[in-house]
Point group: C2
Chain length 148, copies 2
DNA sequence: ACTTGACCTGTGCCTAAGACATAGGTGTAA
DNA sequence: TTACACCTATGTCTTAGGCACAGGTCAAGT
């Protein structure tokens, strides 16, 4: 099967298939007649694995490592387990980050509800944002006038 | 003040300051002696605004629009409000996505707890991942053997 | 036979927001 | 003077493909 056929078979895009082919995660033969890439069952298998792993948010580099391991004939499962644990931790962080951001945004919207719009004053661009100086900044600016 | 001083004053990196300078969000004068970039109070003000907005996850492009509006002397606040509402919606999505992914990963880990590691069999790379065929795929593959 | 349209090819540029490297100029204290 | 810390500009790298382009290929319709 050729690029688009393979892509459709696994519900992805031709560009994706080409990309994985280019970086060597899946291999294709070249048709002698026309130079088109030709994929076999094994390539489809591999691509399916890749796509499944991507669904778990594995990076292409991680998937690559796993495939290399597997290609050496070793069990890839330990690496897969390790990777997925790592991603669970990462996801937890993202989750918490999204939570904090949501909180922050909601709070801003609420706080601003009653505040009017103001034209920029030259020393302030938008008082809504600049009003809030809840800094994560722990290095407070010290400013010596330094006209050179 | 010069790049690194400004960066430190606002608790960011010199590279970040240079970046915003390069794309024109903040402006710097060039010292006549040595060509070093020199920033004034207004630049610091602007950078502070930019960093605050970035904390709210505003994109640089969005911030740019806001600054342009403000530079025209218009009130930027409506745009800021609109942008932040947009981001709240986005964050909600990310939040849900992280939630789903966390669920998926946790479930995978649990499901695999008792399963052994297996060497790749030639038709399967890692049974842990390939075992799960819970497809979002709605186009089931139909495969005609197509030896060219 | 010819054309049309849908497919394919390779190549290369684009994304976001900086981080990092490199080569060379500058400033200051020992 | 020299060492060291700082500065400059420029360019390359990052993710996982998306998109555009110029041209070759194939099946069907005219």
């Amino acid at each position: 099967m050729k690029v688009t056929e393979l892509a459709r078979a696994l519900n992805t895009t031709p560009d994706t298939v080409r990309y994985y082919t280019k970086i060597g995660l899946v291999t294709a033969l070249k048709s002698v007649n026309n130079g088109y890439k030709v994929y076999n069952k094994q390539a489809q298998q591999r691509l399916k694995f890749i796509l499944s792993a991507r669904q778990l948010d594995f990076s292409v580099a991680e998937i690559s490592s796993i495939l290399v391991e597997s290609d050496k004939g070793h069990a890839a499962c330990p690496l897969v387990r390790k990777t997925i644990e790592y991603h669970l931790a990462q996801t937890e962080k993202q989750f918490q980050a999204a939570l904090r951001l949501r909180e922050k945004l909601s709070r801003a919207i609420n706080d601003w509800q009653d505040k009017p719009d103001k034209a920029p004053t030259g020393h302030m661009i938008c008082h809504l944002i600049e009003g809030e100086s809840e800094g994560e900044s722990e290095g407070d600016a010290q400013q010596g006038e330094n006209n050179e």
